[in-house]
Symmetry: C2
């Protein structure tokens, strides 16, 4: 557990977890800070991971009956004014477009005062308002329901303190928006997508999560219920990795989304929304990274197998390159994890040792070093990124080309499963269920509380019964937790039959809730 | 059998071509005008076409060695100031973000005066500036070259007169950006991507194009050379469907993109950029649509085969639905045009005649009507959208299920090829090469010139030799053409060996150029 808190193999220094995280983002060439404040440049390897997330999640979104579409980036200000009246806790940190032309003013390029917009436009922070407006036009009768749509888009939320992938002023995400005839159908949809996220996160990202319901104070503004999946990072903090909101008729009332039911009455729809974002990439890094860099689960690795040719500026180089190309082709016909294997021959003008470490840092699941002897002998020498080291020694294996190819699907499946198992064991081992009082919890987290926000002391989560307090009582608890830098994460979907007393009130518990530090 | 669309597309009819176009966009449920001025809502069927364009073009972009990444939506104003100094013809119609928060001001939600940005941000109209900035950091040595990247993104250009897909203030596109060590490599890249666009357009969109070089006055500001593919719409107008720019060292000089060459000298890179957008969907509509609606080439049809079950609220309905579902599954295992067939059973609560016409209007290539008799007899009755009518009669065919499935790959390939051939014949038949003087050309186009911009008179293009005039002489020609609402399109890549006199100057021609009306 402590191993990940050191970046010794990457930077030569021991350092904090945030430093380690930043080092991986940089060294694996995933993303970089952009000249636009708070935004990021997602580099090809990082974007390749996002493309894999898109492809694999999009398939699941479509298989559950949703269709993709695209709504405008800009939303008229008046849409938010309507929302602000309805929704308490409405966030106001948004980018505002006020002009539509530039002009030389006093010798400097500036917004043209003559091109001021009559109504300012908001760069979408989320699209409930503009999609709800379309729903109100599209939906007339119960025969139009359900409406099940999704979009992949960029959104902007003005954030003061940003961290690549985890919190950036612009990020990429998918947002699902649906409308239903009944409360029951809305609830079913919300839980169905929560389950899609859980299964996706565990199967594809190899990132175990706890799916559950957010407490009242952590709900999406305007939602009846908000559910989340929470993943445990290697510093013990929780990452909210996806949310699904049962919006009830709240948005439908604000936006006049109504339909004629079979009895001929005009009634409001029940709507939902749900989303995951490029934040997931941050989750993958903090779940699977090690002291050598990133380890990517094969299901989201842009390249699952990378061949580093051992070239020596000699005539046999051509043979090695030809053999490498042939091997890439053959692997492209092998099906692993349900898809053709994604392989690459790295032909960049770089020394092979440098290349190998590039791919170690980037987390390619299998790295082959192909030299003239392998070509002559029909052998494959490779290292598994998930088990790179035995102590300080880098381990590699060698086998016949035929055996390697025959075993490749099992190898990639094993790596995928192994990464999941490792993270799952860590999650399970670090949820304390034996804490019986708030003070005991304060003592557990206390040592780290005294440190700054980037504290390195590892603390997992606490799972304890509570009485599901609301209103002011909940607010007071929230404040007490905040002093320990703790938050209520969610009430897991799987709950026991009976509960002990509430950790906060001493009253009989009605469910168990997770408590932890969080991103 | 009433027609799905009452407007006729071709010349001499009461409805205009623009009305016909709008009717298809609406009736095929491709897109709609949004409450955000100038932007569009791309509906699921239209977005499905875009997804097919993305998938098929993205494969080609990657196969030619490019990697996808993502750059910020917002670009600091100073980046454009730098560009404006360098680039004449720099467009200034751009959305400007000036505030980052909303606030209640005098009881109304408004930009917070205390949250004014120090430096305004521009919503990207194209990303040369911000990507060039990254290139200047990434590129140090000749060993870093070439850099070959692409991004799929939304861009915003403030347009006063918008038309769905063809010209909207926000649109979706891909933009490739590359940097090279030599002028020759930059030129090769520019032409390679032009050829990718040509092949993609003809093979996938079934839209024949003429690839060629834009004249000087139509170049991208700052480009050494601009190439385009031009497609002929059914009203005879040209649609610029994609562009590829050889930027020389122009942007590299403005942005300080330099590398150390093998001789150790610090020299500027040669850069290129190239893009296609959601405008292609407009091109597909105006190439393949007919009086009944859209006809989609199978390669980009979100669903290639749609089954309309003939239900009669009787017990045998269940059998029909089960047979339909089974058929969708079986078709999903048939490979056509290199991919599994995309089939759908339409189970919406709608009458089957209504459903059938929905799919006719939307342009599904093959529509099956599946009734109890087909299920019992093991037959398939279907209509081909590309040959829907024989005169006024809708034609359908019936054959055994086994024969239909065996013939499906050939059927879809034949539809794809047939749509291309039809458009290619129209293109070839409507490029006049026999016009010898400007006056003769004016007479040919003249009749329509008197009409308004939405004139229905069909005129194709003129292809004629010219002396490639430049500067003021070219400007004067441009003005003369403008009076006829004509523009120079491009000088096709395939040129004859010798040329007659220049249509404009009478001097010896040096190449042939296309002239026409355009979108």
């Amino acid at each position: 557990m402590q191993r990940a808190l050191s970046v010794s193999r990457m930077t030569g220094n021991s350092s904090t977890f945030p430093d380690w995280y930043q080092a991986i983002v940089r060294e694996a060439e995933l993303a970089e800070v952009s000249p636009t404040r708070g935004a990021m440049i997602i580099r090809p390897w990082g974007y390749g991971v996002w493309e894999r997330i898109q492809q694999t999640l999009d398939r699941r979104i479509k298989e559950t009956g949703h269709e993709n579409c695209y709504f405008p980036l800009f939303i008229p200000l008046s849409f938010f004014a309507k929302e602000a009246e309805h929704v308490e806790g409405f966030a106001k940190e948004m980018a505002v477009v006020t002009h539509h032309r530039l002009k030389q003013v006093d010798g400097k390029l500036a917004p043209d005062p003559d091109a001021r917009l009559e109504e300012p436009l908001i760069v979408r922070p989320t699209s409930e308002t503009i999609i709800g407006d379309a729903f109100s036009r599209w939906i007339k009768s119960h025969r139009d329901l359900p409406v099940l749509i999704n979009q992949w888009a960029n959104v902007v939320r003005w954030e003061m303190r940003t961290r690549l992938f985890l919190r950036t002023s612009e990020f990429l995400w998918q947002e699902g928006h649906t409308a239903h005839a009944t409360a029951e159908e809305g609830r079913e949809e919300t839980l169905k997508m929560l389950e899609v996220y859980r299964e996706f996160s565990e199967t594809v990202l190899a990132m175990p999560v706890v799916a559950g319901e957010k407490p009242e104070n952590e709900r999406f503004p305007g939602a009846d219920k908000t559910y989340s999946i929470e993943a445990m990072m290697q510093d013990g903090k929780a990452l909210q990795a996806g949310t699904s909101h049962d919006l009830g008729t709240h948005f439908a009332e604000a936006q006049n989304i109504r339909f004629q039911n079979s009895a001929g009455e005009l009634v409001h729809c029940h709507t939902t929304s749900w989303g995951v974002s490029t934040r997931l990439i941050g989750g993958v890094i903090m779940t699977h990274g090690d002291d050598d860099g990133l380890r990517l689960p094969p299901a989201i690795a842009p390249r699952q197998v990378v061949i580093v040719p051992m070239l020596r500026d000699k005539p046999e180089d051509a043979e090695v390159l030809a053999a490498g190309e042939a091997l890439v082709k053959v692997m492209g016909q092998v099906i692993a994890l349900g898809e053709p294997v994604r392989a690459l021959l790295d032909v960049k003008a770089q020394k092979s040792a440098e290349k190998r470490w590039n791919w170690v840092r980037r987390g390619a699941p299998v790295i082959i070093e192909l030299g003239p002897r392998d070509v002559a002998g029909g052998t494959i020498s490779f290292m598994r990124r998930d088990r790179l080291r035995d102590g300080d020694k880098v381990t590699s294996q060698s086998m016949s080309r035929a055996d390697f190819l025959a075993g490749l699907p099992a190898l990639l499946a094993e790596i995928q499963q192994g990464l999941y198992d490792e993270a799952k064991a860590r999650l399970d081992a670090n949820i304390r269920t034996d804490i019986a009082s708030f003070d005991e919890m304060a003592a557990y987290f206390g040592a780290a509380a005294a440190d700054d926000e980037d504290a390195t002391a590892f603390r997992g989560w606490v799972r304890a019964p509570w009485a599901r307090p609301t209103g002011e009582e909940l607010e007071a608890i929230e404040q007490k937790l905040k002093a320990l830098r703790l938050t209520l994460r969610n009430a897991p979907m799987d709950q026991p039959a009976t509960f002990g007393p509430c950790l906060f009130t001493g009253r009989p518990g009605v469910e168990e809730i997770l408590i932890g530090r969080a991103y």
